[in-house]
Point group: C2
Chain length 773, copies 2
Amino acid sequence: MAEGASQDLLLAAAFVSDAQYNRNIPFKTSPEAVRLYYLYNHWIMRTATYFFIFLNLSLAVFEEPAVYPLPFLVTSLVEVLCLLVFFGRLTHFAKVTLRNVFWKDTKNICIMVAILLSLTDLAIYGVLRLYNMRSIRWSRIVRPIFLINFAESRQIRRAFRSIRNTLPEITYVFLLFMFSLLMFSLMALKLFGDRNLQTAEGLPYFRNYLEIVFDLYVLVTTANSPDVMMPAFDFSSWYALFFIAFVIVNTYIFMSLFLAVVYNNYKKHLKNEIRKLAYMKHRKMIEAFNLLKEEEGAQFVVREARWKQLVKLVAPDISNSHRELLLRISDDEQKGFIDKKSFVQLADLLNIQVITLKIRSHPLGQWMPRVYQSAVSRFLRSMVRHRGFVWTYDAIILINAIFIALDEETPYISYAEWVFLALYIIEILLKVYTYEPRAFFGKNQFWNWFDTLIIFAALTATVLNTTLKSTTKYNSQQILDIVFILRVLRLIRIVDSIQRFRVIMNTLINIVPTMLTFGGLTLVVYCVFAIIGMELFHGKIQFFPANSNAPHALECGNPALKDSLFARGKYCKNNFNNFASSFIVLMELTVVNQWHDILCGGRSKLELALSPLTPIILFANGFANVTVQPAKLYFIAFHIVMVIIIVNIFVSFILEAFFVEYSLEKSEVETAIEQKIQELGMGVQEDELQDEQLLDNMESAEHNLEGEGGTKPQSKGLVFKIASKRYRTVDALLQRMFEAEIPLEDEVPSFEEILNLSPTPAVPSSLISESAA
Amino acid sequence: MAEGASQDLLLAAAFVSDAQYNRNIPFKTSPEAVRLYYLYNHWIMRTATYFFIFLNLSLAVFEEPAVYPLPFLVTSLVEVLCLLVFFGRLTHFAKVTLRNVFWKDTKNICIMVAILLSLTDLAIYGVLRLYNMRSIRWSRIVRPIFLINFAESRQIRRAFRSIRNTLPEITYVFLLFMFSLLMFSLMALKLFGDRNLQTAEGLPYFRNYLEIVFDLYVLVTTANSPDVMMPAFDFSSWYALFFIAFVIVNTYIFMSLFLAVVYNNYKKHLKNEIRKLAYMKHRKMIEAFNLLKEEEGAQFVVREARWKQLVKLVAPDISNSHRELLLRISDDEQKGFIDKKSFVQLADLLNIQVITLKIRSHPLGQWMPRVYQSAVSRFLRSMVRHRGFVWTYDAIILINAIFIALDEETPYISYAEWVFLALYIIEILLKVYTYEPRAFFGKNQFWNWFDTLIIFAALTATVLNTTLKSTTKYNSQQILDIVFILRVLRLIRIVDSIQRFRVIMNTLINIVPTMLTFGGLTLVVYCVFAIIGMELFHGKIQFFPANSNAPHALECGNPALKDSLFARGKYCKNNFNNFASSFIVLMELTVVNQWHDILCGGRSKLELALSPLTPIILFANGFANVTVQPAKLYFIAFHIVMVIIIVNIFVSFILEAFFVEYSLEKSEVETAIEQKIQELGMGVQEDELQDEQLLDNMESAEHNLEGEGGTKPQSKGLVFKIASKRYRTVDALLQRMFEAEIPLEDEVPSFEEILNLSPTPAVPSSLISESAA
C-alpha cells in the first residue's frame, strides 16, 4: 500500500476493492481495522489459508487407512497446526469486521464448532489410542466445512446455498418419484410375483417387494437394463410394455423433471444472490464516493488527482495508459473531476479486461535494423504471415498424428519424432521473429502460450528420456508417459485453425474457471462419502498384483468372493481401503453404470449361485444385525446426492453458461469503453481475429495514426482492445448472466435490507409456491 | 355446415377456423374450393387419413419377417389401398389449395415420390417373387414419410424441421467431440498399447486404434464403465486420471454441450415457427374481417348477427351461453357490432376453454324433493362434503395398498378385495348423490373420470374373472393381469389428495399431449431403424421357450453363440426377427445401457475366450467381406440419432414446457375473458379448488345471484370458469410459451413474407453465426 495515502483514501480504496471483487466483508472503519483488512485480503494470506485447507483435507491420504502411512503423531500435529491457522484466520476476520455482524454470520459459528469438534475428537482418539483402544475418527467428515466456510470460497458456498434452497422443491418431486416407483413395484409384484419366473442366474424373479423396489430404482439409472426385463419379456412379449412405461415415466420424465426443477431453482436463487451482490457493490461505491467527494458547483464530485491515487491503490498493477483510458471514460468531458454516476461505474470498469497493446517495432528491428529489414528477412516474415504457413503446419500436424499412431519401436519413426519436434520449434521461433515477442506472449494469447509450453515441455522430456536411455539403457516409464501425452496434446492445435471449432473451444475455455466451483463442490461431497465409506467398508476387499502369492489373491483377499464376477471381472481394486481408492470408486458410481455390479459384486449374471456371500454382505459386516441394507443405503444416498442433485446443478450451470456465452452481447459499460477507445482512435476490432490478422491490423492502425497526423499525440504507438468475454472473476461472469434481468434502481437499499432480499415475485414463481393461488 | 350461409360467410368461417387451429392451407376462394376445404378438414376425413397411415406402418407387423404372418397378396393389396388413399388425399388437397403453392411445397412432392417409390418397389418385389427370387423390400423405410408429411401431423413435421435446422450446429460440436475422442484414443494407444495389458477376459487391451475408439465411444455412454478402466487402473492407480479426464470432458461437458446446442436451437427455431403462425393467424383473421365488414360511422365493423352466424359455423358445438359470453367480450359496450381489433381476437377467444357450469339442483332433488331434502339425506351429503370423508378414503387406499402387497392366495385377502371394490363404488355413488352428476362428470374433472373408469373396469374384470373361474375352474391370465394393474392404479388417487403433488401431477398431465409429438418422432425413427435392422440381422438370433427341444435352443438357435454370455444371460429374445422385437431392442438401445452387451453379445466379460464367434459377426454375415463394422455402424448411428439428437430434443421440450408451466401467468385474452365473467357476476375462482369446494362455491354463487336480485337475468343458474392451463391445441400451448417474447406488430407481413421469416436477430445469435463478427 502506498505510504503517504490518507486514511480516507485507504478506506475508500478498501471499499472499491471490495466492490470490484464482490467481497462481502462489512469491515470496521477504524484505521487499524482498515490496515488489518488489507492484510486479510493480501494474496499471501489468502493463498496460505487455501494451502492449510487442502493440507487438512489431504491428511486423509496419510491417516489410517493410508495411501502413504505416516505416524499418528505427525498427522495429529499437522492437524493441530491447521486448526490453529484456521482459528488465527477467524480471529483476524473478527478484528476486521463488526462485532455484531461477526456473531450473526453462521459461517463463523460453523468454523468455530468444526474446530472444537476436531480438537475434541483428536484428543479422545489420541487418549484411546494410548490405551490401545480403536475408535472412529468421526470428526474427519467435518473437514470439508473449512473449505465451504472460509470467506474466500464464496462460489462453493453459494452453490451449497443454492442446493439448500432447491431441496424443498426437489423433495416434493422426489416423493412423487418414489411414489411412482413404489406403485410400479407393487404392479410388478402382482404381475410377476406368482409366475415362478427365474432370472438368468436361476434366482427367483420379482418375489420380494423391497428387492423389486431396489431393482427398479437401479433400472431408473439404466444400469441393469435390459437384464431386469428379460425374464418377464421371455415369458410374454407384452410384459415389455410394463418396462417401457416404467422407463418413460421414471427415467425420461422424472429425471427431466428433476433437471427442470433444479435448473429453475438454481437460476432463481442465483439471480437473487447476484442481485444482492450488485446492490452491495453499488452501496460500497457510494460509500467510497462519500469519503472522497468534494463540492464542485451544485454537485459533489471526486477530483482527478484523488481519483488517480485511488485507482493506483486499488489496482496497482495496471499500466499508466490504461489508467489514463479509464479516466477519459469516467471524465468524459475532461472537466478535471468525476461525478457520482461515473464514479460508481469504476468497479465495473476495473473488471473489464482492457488489453494494452504497445505497438513497438520488433526488438530485432531495433538492434539490427539492416538485417531485420533485409529482403530475405522481409520475405521470411511475409511467408510466416501467409495463410499457407498455417496450412503447412496443419498438414504437418496431421502427418504427425499418423506417425504417432504408428509403432514406436521402428527406428525411423522415433527419428521422425525429432524431426517433428524440430519443425514445431522452428515454427515458434519464426513466429517470434515475425511478430513482436511481447505481443506474441500477451496475456490473452492462450494458444501461443499453450503451444510454446507443450513444445518445450516435450523437448525437455524427450531430451531427458534420451539421456536416461543412453546412460542407464532404460526408459523411465513416467517420463515416457508424459512425452506421449504431450505429443498428442500438440495435435489439439489443429482445432485452433478452424474458425468454428475455435469459437466452441473458446466458449469451453471461458467457462473452465466457473466449472472449478463444481470441482470444489464435488470434492466436498466425495470427501464426506469417502470418509464414511472408509469407516464402513475398509479392508473388506483387497487388491493384489497379478502375480501375487497371497492367499485368496484371486478373490480380492476375501474367500467369500471366490468365483464371483466381481473378482473375476478384476474389480478388486475398486475398494474403500484408502482415500484415493475411495475417490475412484465414488467417481465410478457417479458415472452411474455398473454401480449395480460394484454394489452387488458377485451377484451379477451367472455367478451368484457359486458365491452366495457377496461384497454387499461383506460391506455390511461391520454392522451387527443388519445385513444388506446399510451398503445399499450408502450407495443410494450417494446416487441421490451426486447424480440427482449435483450433476443436475452442474448441467444447469453449463446450460446457463452456454446460453449466456452464445447470446452475450457487450454490456453497456463495455460498449462505453469501446466507444471511447474508438473515439480516441486507439482501437482494434474484436479479438476474434487471427493472431496474424490482429498483428497486421495493429500495424495498419499504427500506419493510420501516423498518416492522419498527430492530433492524438498521447495515443501514438498504443492500441487497446477489450478481451471480450473474458472475466476477471467468476462473479463478473455470473453478474453478466443476469445483468439484463436485474434492474438496478437508483435507490439502493441498506446493507441489512440487501442481505435479506429474497427471490423477487417478478422471477417466475415456482411450481410449489404458486400452488394454491 | 349451415345450409343458408352465404358464400362470404362460409369463406370467412374457413379463414377463422384455419386461424383457430393454426392450419396452414392457402386455399382457393372459389365456392367449390371452400366446400372442398370443409370436406378436407372434416374430422372423418382426417381420422381416415390417420387410420390409413398407421395401417400402412403396421403392415410391417404382417409382412415377412412377420409377428403375425399374412400372405403377400393380402399385405400388398392393403398397401396399394393405402397408397390410393394417400393419393386421393393429396389430390383433394391439390384441389383446395392454390396451384403454385401446391407445387412449391416440398411435403407434397415428398408424398408423391414416396407413393411412386412404394409402388415401384412393390411391383418389382412381386414380379421377382413370382420367379421365386428374393429381394429386399427397401421401400418400406419410406413409409414414415407419410406420417411426417401429411398436413395433419404438423407437430411432427415441425420437430423434424427443428432437427434439420439444428443439424449444422450439432455437426460442428459433434466433430469436435469426435476429435476429442480420437485424441484420447491416440493417447490411450500410446499409454497402454505397449504395456501388454489384458482385459478381464484375457484379451489384449487397447492395442488396436479403432477398437480403442469404439471402446471409448462406449465409455461416453457410460455403458462399459468401469470395465474398460480396470486393466489400466490395476497396472497403476495414476492411469485412473486419464479416464477421469476422459469422462469429465466427453461425458459431462460434451454431452451437456449437445443438450445446450440442441436446446438453444430448438427454442430459437420453434420461436420463429410460432411467430410465423401468429402472423398467419392475424392475417387470416383480417381476411375474414374484410369479407364480413360493413361500414359503421368512420370505421368498418362486423355486425352482431353476422358475427353470431360466423361463430355458429366455426364452432357449432359451443353452447348458446358461451357464444353470448364471447359476444359480450368482443362487443364490450354492447353497440351491436364488433370492431376490427376485437374481431381479430376471436380465434384466440375460441381457443380458450371456457367451461359452462350449469347450476342445477340435483336431479334427485327434483324427482323426489322430500327424500332428498330429508334430515338423513342432508346429513349424508354434509358428511360426504366433509374433509374427513376424503381422509377416510385416503386411509382406505393405504390399507388397500398393504392388502395388495400381501399374498393373493389367502382367501381372506381375496375377499377383502371385494370389500375394497365395494367401498370404492359406494364412494362414487355417494359423490354422485351429493354433487350434481353432470358437474361431477364435467369435461375437466379428470380425477372423477379416472376414478370411475378404473373402478368400473376393475369391477367388470373381477366379475368376469370370477365367472370364468367358477365355470372353467381356471383364471384367465390376461384378465388377472388387467385386474392387478387396475387395482394398483386405483392407489394413484392418493396423490390427488395432497395439494403439492396434485400441482406437479397436473403439470405432467398438461404436457402429455405435447409429448405425443415425440412419440410420433420416435415412432418414425424406430420404424426406419427397425426395417433396416430386420433386413440386416433377421434370423441371426432366435428365441426358444425354456423347455424347447430345438437344436441349439440354449444358444439362441445359433451354434456360434454357444456358451456366450449373450445366450446365458437369456438375451435371445433381443433380436431383429420381427417388427415388435426390433422395437424392443431399439428401446433397449435408447435406454443406452448394456447396449455394449447386446452389441457385443458373447464378447462381454469372461466368455469371449469360449466363443470367438459373436453375434456382432453373425449380424454382419449378410455382408460379404466386411466383418464387424456394419453392425457397429448401425448401432452407433442409432445412438447418435436417438440419444444425442432426439432424446436431447425431448429433454429440451420437457424443460421448456416445465418452465412455462411453472411461470405461466394468464394471457391478456384470458384475463379479459375472466374480467368479463366476473363483471357479469358469473364467475367462480380458479379451477385449483377441490371438487367439493368448487361445487360448494357454485351453490353459494347461485345463492348470491338469487339474493342480489335479477339484474342479470340471462346469467341466472349459469357460471363460467376458465380451464386454466388447458389448451385445445398443442400450438396454443407453444404460442403461449413464446407469447411474451414475440411482439406482434400492427403491420402484418404478407403470406409470402411470413413463410420466409428466419430467426430474428433479436433471438440470441447462435454460437456459429456470431463466429467472425
